[in-house]
């Protein structure tokens, strides 16, 4: 039932009958296909995903999916029949093994090949490997995929001592979920504070205190030197300070590496991800990259950045779909992010960079506050802890480009929400 490609077999992007291939079946990959169809694209769309399951929602994997009460299966991104109904050829359990840019085909692990007029790389990222002795013992886990989460979900009820390596978002979300299984939880962080690259010192200090108060032993300035085990299974770790930690379940959460090998082997530029321009296009005008794997110029960061978030995946996916359909706009969506950690909800609007100044709204001692991050005297990001009103207001104000100075923020009567309400019209 698919319309045929144009007679020369090479419809240009911008043509609604162009053949689009998407490599990667995560949030970004599925959203590209969805937006193309929603905006009237009639050409063939193929999604190639290497996991052997229907594309699924990733955020819950490190959160409620791991808590004792949660029995629900992980939620798919779309129902199975959605793909057929929208004439999206979803190929799961298949890896894209090579990209032939001259011939405009993607070679697949099942021996097949798919031709494209526009190719979107939405390959995502993989958990960074931890190269210390013993990291291959059973009981040492990563957390990125549904298979990872299911393995942890099966292991948690029988665990006694959980050791988390790395106090990033994954490590801290996992620590909070693991605590609900009544196990002892220790988190080691090599840096001097948790989330050092991601949040302000004020927010980091609050999160660290909250995790400690909830019973997690959080030790900064230390990581694992080696894991120890017997019969192939971990039973502890030796820290870099010489301390010993018993552990029958370990989560390594030391960040991710973008999956850029396919692009690199095809001669595309790769530097902390697949390098794209402001329209999310690589050096090859038929090849795009979006989501966790895309190193892109971002006006909110004041330079190139690679972002790992649902917002970025979905936002860039929608944008690239419009570019494929002929739009020539730069991607400029405001980044936002959230993390649930036990009783804490952290929400971030905008992008904070190391060195940005902070102005705190509210009293952190109450457990509800926001940190306004300023760069050169202008508000660029707001981190909110259990203050959802500030977060939503900040999203609207920052997206609207409203300029706010430290003086504005320090006014005792200042309210992000009141200011956002004064924006007309509301988005």
């Amino acid at each position: 039932m698919c319309p045929r490609p144009s007679s020369d077999g090479h419809s240009r992007p911008g043509h609604p009958g162009a053949r689009v291939v998407v490599v990667g079946a995560g949030h970004a990959g599925v959203q590209v296909a969805d937006t193309l169809r929603a905006r009237g694209h009639t050409g063939p769309i193929t999604i190639v995903g290497d996991e052997p399951v229907l594309p699924y929602q990733r955020p819950p994997l490190s959160k409620e999916h791991l808590t004792p009460a949660d029995a629900a299966p992980v939620l798919p991104l779309r129902a199975e029949r959605y793909f057929a109904e929208h004439r999206i050829d979803l190929r799961t359990g298949v890896t894209a093994t090579a990209l032939h840019r001259e011939a405009r085909t993607v070679e697949l692990s099942d021996g097949g090949a798919v031709p494209y007029d526009a190719l979107v790389l939405a390959t995502g990222a993989v958990s960074r490997a931890f190269g210390v002795p013993g990291a291959d013992l059973a009981g040492v886990h990563a957390l990125r995929t549904l298979a990872d989460a299911d393995a942890l979900r099966a292991a948690l009820p029988g665990a006694r001592s959980v050791l988390v390596v790395g106090a990033g978002f994954i490590g801290l979300e996992f620590a909070a979920a693991a605590r609900r299984h009544a196990v002892r939880v220790t988190v080691l962080e090599a840096g001097e504070r948790p989330l050092a690259r991601a949040v302000s010192p004020e927010t980091a200090a609050h999160l660290a205190a909250a995790h400690r108060e909830a019973g997690t032993e959080l030790r900064c300035g230390e990581t694992v030197a080696r894991f120890v085990g017997e019969h192939g299974r971990v039973h502890g770790a030796l820290g870099t300070t010489g301390a010993e930690y018993p552990a029958d379940l370990v989560l390594v959460g030391i960040g991710v590496e973008p999956r850029a090998e396919l692009a690199a082997r095809a001669g595309l530029d790769v530097a902390d991800g697949i390098v794209v321009d402001e329209r999310l296009r690589t050096r090859d005008p038929s090849v795009y990259a979006v989501g966790d794997c895309a190193n892109h110029p971002n006006s909110h960061a004041g330079g190139r950045v690679r972002l790992e978030s649902v917002q970025n995946a979905a936002g860039q996916a929608r944008h690239v779909a419009s570019v494929i359909l002929g739009a020539e706009r730069a991607y400029a969506e405001l980044p936002w992010f959230w993390s649930h950690q036990g009783e804490l909800t952290l929400q971030i609007a905008g992008l904070r960079l190391p060195g940005d100044d902070s102005v705190v709204l509210g009293d952190p001692a109450t457990g509800r506050f926001s940190v306004c991050c300023l760069r050169q005297g202008r508000l660029v990001a707001v981190e909110s802890v259990n203050r959802p009103a500030d977060h939503m207001a900040a999203r609207r104000l920052l997206a609207a480009g409203r300029v706010l100075s430290p003086g504005d923020l320090r006014d005792p009567a200042f309210s992000l929400k009141r200011l956002a309400r004064a924006l007309v019209p509301a988005p």
Partner: protein, 108 residues
């Protein structure tokens, strides 16, 4: 088994069966109901599962949390002060064995 009826543009409705403990957003996504996105996976963070609950069911709904309250201020389709809810916050079963909702024209 809990039941959700989704109406689009005032049509006769699509009936979907759901597991107890599931919610209106999950029921929609799992069954491919158009117009409900659920981009954040049901965490009350994205407002893309906005629905208008029909009058007879308003009394059986769980209270609106602070997170949901703020998200409802930022929905793509206009908020209805009485009927607007996030589908991911409407847990099915118990008092809410059955519910009928109207799906808004836009979620983004």
């Amino acid at each position: 088994m809990p039941k959700v009826v989704f109406h689009h543009s005032g049509d006769a409705g699509t009936v979907v069966d759901a597991d107890p403990g599931s919610n209106v957003m999950r029921a929609a996504v799992q069954n491919g109901v158009a117009g409900i996105v659920g981009e954040c996976g049901g965490q009350a963070m994205c407002a893309t599962c906005h629905v208008y609950v029909r009058e007879p069911y308003l009394g059986a709904l769980p209270p609106v949390s602070e997170d949901e309250e703020e998200m409802l201020d930022c929905t793509a389709a206009p908020r209805d002060d009485r009927r607007s809810r996030l589908g991911c916050q409407l847990t099915l079963g118990g008092d809410l064995e059955e519910v009928e909702v109207d799906v808004p024209e836009a979620q983004l």
